[in-house]
């Protein structure tokens, strides 16, 4: 009788046996239950373990059940689907935890006092103090780096996209790629060897800015390049066909069309270098006092402040609290930068439709 049923089904080439819509949920719940059960039975207490076990069970279970009912191709499709979901869920956990912990622990000492005072008279293990000096230093260092890096980066991208043919362009493309991969600490060491050890300049915010600019340039080049490439050739040709010189075409047509994307790229680059700690550690050195002159003497910086509060405090709760609060401030700053960047991108985006 079952054979009859199967042949009856087989007659249709369009229909295949398929699992009901709720089956992924059922398999998922089942896997979690079994995972938890095994953990309880074996006396395992880490939540990571049962989650991993449930994930593995889910993927295997899906494959076996689907392969039996629906056939191999459909089973593969379902496994891919469940793997992709598992990837997503597993990755969400640490990233959500990062944001949550920073918020939870950061708000403890995060207030106006914290933002407007330095560490001038506060020992590392004491409560009190703030990040005013660090914010000031970071803003100055990042500002100078941006002023150096953006024009060079954008112009290089223009060269690569609008003029770039031949050996030089290929070399620049290649080394921009290579430069993207330069670890921040290597950029720091370069400025150290050149600016401090050979030219005998002292530690200063500006030295840090130089390293940050080196890190920022390739990022700006790459993102600008991408944006310029998105400008349709028809637009350039339309302008050139009107008799507009190439440089004016670039300035008046190409760059304005992509300005939203370029700005977004620049802001993301700024966000990236704002959080760089290593070059600042090597070149700006850090201080507990307010130093508003980026060209002379060590300055503080927000990421460096977090590191020093963590590393120099020997586990003191007060210092950890300050580190978390500074981390919160840093994240908030970076996020605001991101949000503004996106706002600009949307506002300046080429109008489509209508």
């Amino acid at each position: 009788m079952s054979t009859a049923a199967v042949t009856g089904k087989r007659r249709s080439t369009l229909r295949g046996a398929s699992l009901p819509k709720w089956s992924p949920w059922a398999i998922g719940v089942g896997s979690i239950a079994v995972g938890l059960g095994i953990s309880l039975a074996a006396g395992l207490d880490s939540s990571i373990q049962w989650a991993l076990m449930a994930a593995v069970l889910f993927v295997l279970g899906t494959y076996v059940i689907a392969a039996r009912v629906e056939g191999r191709r459909q089973a593969k499709d379902r496994v891919a689907t469940s793997l992709v979901w598992v990837c997503f869920l597993l990755a969400v956990i640490p990233l959500a935890s990062l944001v949550w912990e920073t918020l939870k622990r950061g708000v403890k000492v995060f207030d106006v006092y914290f933002l407007t005072h330095s560490m001038g008279v506060v020992a590392d293990t004491e409560t009190g103090g703030g990040i005013y000096h660090a914010i000031l230093g970071t803003l100055e260092q990042v500002g100078i780096a941006t002023v150096i890096a953006v024009p060079i980066g954008v112009m290089t991208a223009v060269y690569l996209v609008e003029y770039g043919r031949g050996k030089l362009a290929r070399a620049v493309t290649f080394f921009v790629d290579v430069m993207t991969g330069i670890p921040s600490i290597v950029a720091g060491l370069f400025v150290l060897s050149f600016w401090i050890l050979i030219l005998k300049m002292g530690y200063s915010g500006f030295a840090g800015s130089l390293a940050l600019a080196i890190l920022m340039m390739p990022v700006v080049v790459r993102s600008t390049e991408e944006m310029l490439k998105l400008v349709p050739n028809e637009l350039r040709e339309a302008s050139l066909a009107l008799g507009v010189p190439k440089w004016r075409t670039i300035l008046k047509v190409v760059l304005p069309t992509s300005i939203g994307g370029i700005t977004t790229g620049v802001m993301l680059a700024v966000a990236r270098i704002t959080g760089e700690t290593a070059p600042v550690l090597l070149l700006v050195w850090g201080t507990n006092f307010i130093n508003s002159d980026p060209f002379k003497d060590p300055q503080a910086s927000l990421p460096l402040y977090i590191y020093q509060q963590y590393a120099n405090s020997a586990g003191s709760g007060a210092a950890y609290d300050r580190a978390w609060a500074a981390a919160l401030a840093l994240i908030a700053f970076v996020m605001i930068l991101n949000l503004v960047a996106r706002g600009i991108a949307r506002w300046k985006a080429p109008k489509t439709g209508r």
């Binding site: 191709r73 979901w85 598992v86 112009m155 030089l168 991969g181 440089w247 840093l330």
Partner: protein, 335 residues
Amino acid sequence: MDITIQNTDAPPPAHRPSAAEQKRAGRGATRPGDRIFLGLSRGSGIFLLVIMAAIAVFLTYRASLAISKDHGNFLTTFEWNTNLTPPVFGIAVLAFGTVVSSIIAMAIAVPVAVGIALFLTHYSPRRLAGPIAYVIDLLAAVPSIVYGLWGALVLVPHMDGLFGWLNDYLGWTGIFSWQGGAPRSLLTVGILLAIMILPIITNVSREVFRQVPQMHEEAALALGATRWEVIRMAVLPFGRSGVISASMLGLGRALGETMAVATVLSPTFDIQTSLLDPGGGTFAQNIASKFGEATDQGRDALIASGLVLFVITLLVNGAARVIIARRKEYSGANA
């Protein structure tokens, strides 16, 4: 035919252009404005090359000062005593730690990131994909020092359970045995690095997958492909070089990551067979940790190790470039 009419018809000036002018016209830079603009943009490109050259030259110079004084073997010595006279130091431990932690990070992060990217572009409900992609965009911007702080104070305490489990079931391999110390080991570092580079690889991969032309996916669908087969046929091949360059970005970050490693790892200058026992070190972490108390001689030694890191990242990027170039014929970007 009248000559004046011919002249007004033809865009170039009436007189016969010289060879040099023709060459310039071919490059599209005949006007002063064009020349200045080209000069500026080409100058910027050249400036970048000069910086790269300068990095190599200055690092090599300082490194050569240090290595010439080194009384150990720079490549094989398991020691970092730069303040001795004569100094004795070598990078073997650092190279090992850097490579191992990066391999762990890539092994975890790349598949997961590709999975998330596929999830966002092809699987998730449309209403969810936008906000999630947005959040991941933001996470890519979280500074590494924050990851470091989180890693040291939140992740490390949570690793005990996993380490115990690995030790129970895989301890016999030697690689996953655990003596019960604080789990500030290379494995923890690798996991933290994976979490850190996840957003950036995901982001770039998602961008690439999103750019797969609709018509290629429809071609696969029209052949009767399931969703996964569409991905295998049209999405992954199209996105492969993009995923490689995304991974390259991630690897670059993992190799050179300083602060997150410095906060999480409890470094010792030796090589542990087990990935679970604390110890080892990485180039970047070693520089950050030793810099504060280093003399000038010690700084040069650290610069020498930085040079090695620089060369490694250079090789990694170069290799990735070659892979991408080789695939270009099939990339279909211009199809």
